[in-house]
């Protein structure tokens, strides 16, 4: 859902044009920000959970962080996907993501993600069992 302030932020983003957020596809078509960036409101909300209450964030820093997350996602996904390709599998799964995080030296994420994966699969199995019992 895009609020009016969200739209304003998007316009500001396009006007500012931080280089990390400018992207073109192979045919030189500008990839809209809605397709390659996470919503800035979500990014800023998470930052504010970490920062002290008196801290502020410059607009440029917000936009940069937005771009950094997309870089992170692309980097991890690429590595996970590469593993699949080498093993001749078509679908990237949770283990691949954990492996990618470890391989890239991002151990602070790999540990928690392994735990999350375990719980996600347990949750998934529980759902599956519940559905089967319903008949």
């Amino acid at each position: 859902m895009v609020t009016s302030s969200g739209l304003l932020e998007m316009e500001d983003n396009m006007a500012a044009g931080a280089s990390i957020n400018a992207q073109y596809d192979d045919d030189d078509n500008y990839i809209r920000e809605q397709e390659r960036l996470l919503p800035i409101a979500n990014v800023v909300r998470i930052m504010k959970q970490i920062l002290p209450p008196y801290a502020k964030i410059s607009k440029e820093a917000k936009e940069t962080m937005q771009g950094c997350v997309s870089e992170f996602i692309g980097f991890v996904t690429c590595e996970a996907s590469e593993k699949c390709r080498k093993e001749r599998r078509k679908t990237v799964n949770g283990d691949d993501v954990c492996w990618a995080l470890e391989t890239l030296g991002l151990d602070e994420y790999a540990g928690p993600m392994k735990r999350y994966l375990h719980r996600y699969r347990e949750h998934d199995r529980a759902d599956h069992r519940a559905n089967q019992e319903k008949g």
């Binding site: 931080a18 280089s19 990390i20 992207q23 397709e35 390659r36 996470l38 919503p39 979500n42 909300r45 998470i46 930052m47 959970q49 970490i50 920062l51 002290p52 008196y54 801290a55 502020k56 964030i57 410059s58 440029e60 820093a61 940069t64 962080m65 771009g67 950094c68 997350v69 997309s70 870089e71 992170f72 996602i73 692309g74 996904t77 690429c78 996970a80 996907s81 699949c84 390709r85 078509k90 679908t91 990237v92 799964n93 949770g94 691949d96 993501v97 995080l101 890239l104 030296g105 991002l106 602070e108 928690p112 993600m113 999350y116 994966l117 719980r119 996600y120 699969r121 949750h123 998934d124």
Partner: protein, 142 residues
């Protein structure tokens, strides 16, 4: 998103459709299953927290309150694995220098000096009600 020891469901903060689109920007990516999507979403959130924390440390070290691009850059430089994939992607500095510190701590007041004795501010001539005493702007109130 909280890490609890009970069976509370973890909910990533990002729209999963958008995360998926970003993952698929790379044409070499084939299929991604839901657990992979979930983990990428969660780790992206952790990434923001991590980088925000490290950036804020830089900001604090410089005795500033506004987290800026340069603070993010320094934080990235300090962490080798992050620097490897991110440093070259960061925008170049937009301004060569910070504003002078005096502007940040001591904003100049609009009216600086009291009028000399026996004179009036030129604004007073434009006040219609000459019977009233001139309006005093009390700079001590904040």
């Amino acid at each position: 998103m909280e890490e609890e020891d009970n069976n509370e469901t973890i909910l990533p903060e990002f729209p999963t459709g958008r995360v998926k689109k970003i993952m698929k920007l790379d044409k070499d990516i084939n299929k991604v299953n839901s657990e992979a999507l979930f983990l990428v979403s969660c780790s992206a959130e952790l990434f923001i927290r991590f980088l925000a924390e490290k950036s804020a440390e830089v900001t604090k070290g410089k005795k500033r309150r506004i987290v800026k691009l340069e603070h993010i850059r320094i934080a990235v430089q300090r962490h080798r694995p992050t620097s490897d994939f991110l440093l070259d992607s960061l925008p170049l500095p937009s301004q060569p220098l910070d504003r002078p510190i005096t502007d940040q701590i001591h904003p100049r007041p609009v009216t600086e000096k009291p009028v000399p004795a026996g004179t009036r501010r030129i604004d007073d001539f434009f006040n219609k009600s000459a019977n009233k005493s001139p309006i005093q702007i009390d700079n001590e109130e904040s």
